[in-house]
């Protein structure tokens, strides 16, 4: 769906902001561009909808080279969400959401219906919020409007630039949950830029960790955790390593390393798709049982930690 082919970008002749980047994002996949400030992740994102043009290399969206398309037409088919929302202060919420459909010359009824549908899905009842101006909304509400605006014309591709970065931690977590649960997003091809490791692991199907304009490692969360490509990847994740491991490892991944015992009755039963993090939360009082392929195993804290250690050794 989206393909970058040896893309390089210079801002000045001395330093490459983006250095020879290639990757592909499949339809319906969510790729997270992760890294510290100045690593080139936002620059990479902005080249996809031609807010910037690459110095060399090619970018394809839906099989077409973006350089061959008119920027305005290209951008109308790509949803774009910014950290500071960039809502139009002189437009009402519904007018903001209807911006791209209006550019695409949808008729008014269609725009209105679409706007109301989206507002309902994002827990902004149209009756209350349609005619309100952005400055009258809370930060979280503004961000939802920003998301609704990006989704309005139902674009197949979404680019999100630190969409939750300006929110306080609590709001951020709750909006992230809503974001994950939003059915509108299931079929979308999404590239999300963030510097928040936790967010990257929670939302990304694959993570592309960048530093100094280069890709350090690109793969699923577990690959970055357990098979780091270099020292940078290792050190980058170290501060939150335990939590990340617990969250990304599922009980079914550990299945071979869990021992079978006699199982007392009345224990809570967890599905094998649960993460170790969830299992730990559940077993604070008493051990739990897990069912996988009709086999049942009992686990407690020690058993879980042993299994993780064995998993990492293999």
């Amino acid at each position: 769906m989206i393909k970058l082919d040896h893309v390089t970008k210079y801002f000045n002749t001395a330093k490459k902001a983006v250095d020879d980047i290639s990757f592909e994002v499949q339809e319906g996949e969510t790729l997270v561009l992760l890294g510290t400030s100045g690593c080139g992740k936002t620059t990479t994102l902005r080249m996809i909808n031609r807010l910037l043009d690459p110095g060399s290399g090619h970018i394809y969206v839906n099989g077409k080279d973006v350089q061959q398309q008119s920027p305005a037409v290209l951008r109308r088919s790509i949803g774009y969400v910014l950290q500071n929302t960039g809502l139009f202060p002189h437009y009402t919420v519904s007018e903001n959401i209807g911006t791209v459909p209006a550019l695409l010359q949808w008729d008014k009824t269609r725009i209105r219906n679409r706007t109301i549908t989206l507002m309902d899905k994002l827990r902004l009842p149209a009756a209350t919020y349609a005619e309100v101006y952005p400055h009258q909304l809370s930060g979280g509400q503004q961000q939802r409007v920003g998301l609704a605006r990006a989704l309005a014309a139902d674009p197949p591709v979404l680019l999100l630039d630190e969409p939750f970065g300006a929110l306080d931690p609590l709001t951020r977590i709750s909006i992230r949950k809503e974001f994950k649960a939003l059915d509108e997003l299931n079929s979308k091809t999404i590239i999300l830029v963030t510097h928040d490791v936790e967010e990257a692991f929670e939302l990304g199907d694959r993570i592309c960790l960048m530093n100094e304009g280069r890709i350090q490692q690109l793969g699923p969360a577990t690959a970055l955790l357990f098979k780091p490509a270099n020292d940078f990847v290792q050190t980058f994740l170290d501060p939150q390593r335990l939590q990340l491991e617990l969250k990304s490892l599922l009980l079914q991944d550990l299945w071979p390393f869990l021992t079978t015992k006699d199982i007392p009755a009345g224990l809570q039963q967890l599905p094998a798709e649960s993460s170790c993090w969830e299992a730990l939360a559940a077993m604070t009082h008493s051990p739990v049982t897990v069912v996988c392929d009709q086999e049942q195993k009992e686990i407690d804290g020690n058993a879980l930690m042993d299994a993780i250690a064995s998993y990492k050794k293999q």
Partner: protein, 522 residues
């Protein structure tokens, strides 16, 4: 004698003229602001896209703003003549800076995130401009238009100096004639216009632009209607065009006398004496109300028409000094009287010519003359006291003030400082009576008519005798103001009607009667 005229009497009597001036003033203001918006807003938008041009364009507009208004009007004369055209262009240049700068600042001030979001969503540059940048910058742009409008209401008063009309005619006429009512009749409506327009535009600034989009289209229409108030007055068929100063227009020994005594009826424009001579020389005007000793009479080869029916009173110059000062420093009077009888009309014209036209420093001209007349002595650097010498903004005044300074410093132990350029008669005389200056050179005729406001029968009985006029004003000033007239200097800087020498010769005109005859039988 009539009871003194009140302000309301004046307004009532002159209501027709006042209305005409107010409309002209409004028209001048809005036509120039409209032009400035038409040019300034697109230019402001342009420089947000070509940042390199921004410094250049803003710099140019800024320089325009720093040129003194009257000078800018003066620069326009050779290019555009006199009348509304140069006035509108000058006002347009004044209005340009606030409009360009506010457009530029307003658009640059739009939140970058909003621009980025708009671009990222696929708005074209034009859509970005009209849907996002302009609506969001509009309050700032309107603030610029407001500033420009208020500035222009003020500057438009100066349009009267170059024959473009407006409320400046009353203001400058009032200052020149020491007629407070006339001055206020111009100044108060001008101030009210400024307040009114500022208020109206402020209302506009705060309405919701997008909700009242249609109302916004009315704005240019309103501007156009207001602009159309400016109708170029052209009611006389005579080919001859006269340019008179605001002062001359309202004086009995000026245009009023020309009308009543000579029966002259001619198309007139109100114009500043600063540019009048040049305008006559450049054939923008055919006849002007000059002063007989002005250096520019010589410089621009003009010829004075003989006042064969004696309507212009004698204007002999003499220093007038506060009695208080003379009592305190008795040595002052003999020193000042040294100049008496030394400068005749042709010498004064020559001196003025050197200052006005050859652009020599008045101080140097004054010294050269004193040296030649063997009156110059080096300054004694005395510290007994300081004499403050004032002068009006004419060449005569500058030169005489400098001569008196040198005489005081050379012949007494006093020091002297000059405060030249004190505007017209009213300003300089008020400065004298309010003890801001100690002395200045004044003309007998001005004393008689403007300051003492002598009743007409008395004027008529003494006007043809310069000695009687001098005695009358000496007595009057002593009695009313405790100010003393010292001995006359010698020259008579009277009003004179003058025209180009070539035209006068061609038409065989040498006197005002002959001129009137020519105009009335054209």
């Amino acid at each position: 004698m009539d009871a003194p005229e009140t302000f309301f009497d004046f307004v009532q009597q002159q209501s027709g003229k006042l209305l005409e001036q107010t409309l002209t003033h409004t028209g001048l203001t809005f036509i120039s602001v409209l032009l400035a918006v038409a040019i300034g807003v697109p230019l402001g938008i342009f420089i947000t896209r070509r940042k390199k041009m921004a410094a250049l364009v803003l710099g140019f507009a800024g320089v325009m703003q720093t040129i003194p208004s009257i000078a800018l009007l003066g620069f326009m004369i050779p290019l555009l003549g006199i009348g509304p055209k140069p006035a509108i262009v000058a006002l347009f240049l004044y209005a340009l800076l606030p409009i360009i700068r506010n457009t530029y600042t307003g658009i640059n001030g739009v939140d970058n995130n909003v621009i980025e979001a708009a671009t990222g969503m696929g708005l074209s540059r034009q859509q970005l401009l009209f849907k996002v940048q302009l609506p969001l910058a509009l309050p700032v742009i309107l603030a610029g238009i407001r500033t420009a409008t208020v500035i222009n209401v003020g500057v438009a008063t100066l349009a009267a100096y170059i024959a473009a009309g407006g409320l400046g005619e009353f203001i400058f006429g009032g200052i020149a004639l020491n007629n407070t009512n006339m001055m206020l009749a111009g100044a108060i409506p001008a101030a009210l216009l400024a307040i009114l327009f500022d208020w109206l535009l402020s209302l506009l600034q705060h309405i919701n632009i997008r909700r009242s989009g249609k109302a916004l289209y009315a704005l240019p229409v309103i501007f156009l209607v207001l602009s159309s108030f400016y109708l170029i007055p052209d009611t006389y068929s005579s080919k001859m065009l006269a340019g008179f100063t605001p002062e001359f227009m309202g004086r009995k020994d000026g245009y009023l006398g020309l009308k009543s005594v000579y029966g002259l009826h001619i198309r007139t424009l109100v114009i500043s004496d600063m540019i009048m001579y040049k305008a006559a020389y450049e054939k923008k005007l055919d006849v002007i109300s000059g002063s007989s000793t002005d250096g520019r009479v010589k410089a621009f080869d003009l010829v004075v028409l003989e006042d064969d029916k004696h309507i212009f009173p004698p204007y002999y110059a003499a220093p007038i000094v506060r009695d208080e000062t003379l009592e305190k420093y008795p040595e002052l009077e003999p020193a000042l009287n040294l100049l008496s009888g030394t400068i005749n009309d042709s010498i004064m014209t020559e001196l003025n010519y050197r200052v006005d036209y050859l652009k020599q420093n008045p101080e140097k001209v004054a010294k050269d003359f004193l040296v030649a007349a063997k009156l110059w002595k080096p300054a004694s650097n005395g510290s007994k006291g300081t004499i403050r010498i004032g002068s009006k903004i004419f060449g005569d005044g500058y030169i005489l003030a400098n001569m008196y300074k040198m005489l005081i410093e050379g012949y007494t132990d006093l020091s002297a400082m000059t405060k030249t350029g004190l505007g017209g008669t009213k300003i300089v005389f008020d400065a004298l009576t309010n003890d801001q200056i100690d002395m200045y050179p004044e003309y007998t005729g001005t004393g008689l008519l403007v300051i003492l406001q002598t009743p007409q029968p008395v004027v008529d009985s003494i006007i043809s005798d310069s000695k009687k006029v001098y005695d009358y004003v000496s007595m009057g000033f002593e009695k009313q103001f405790q100010v003393k007239w010292l001995k006359p200097i010698g020259f008579n800087n009277t009003y004179a009607l003058m025209m180009r020498r070539s035209a006068a010769t061609r038409l065989h005109i040498n006197s005002i009667s002959a001129f009137t005859n020519y105009v009335n039988h054209q």
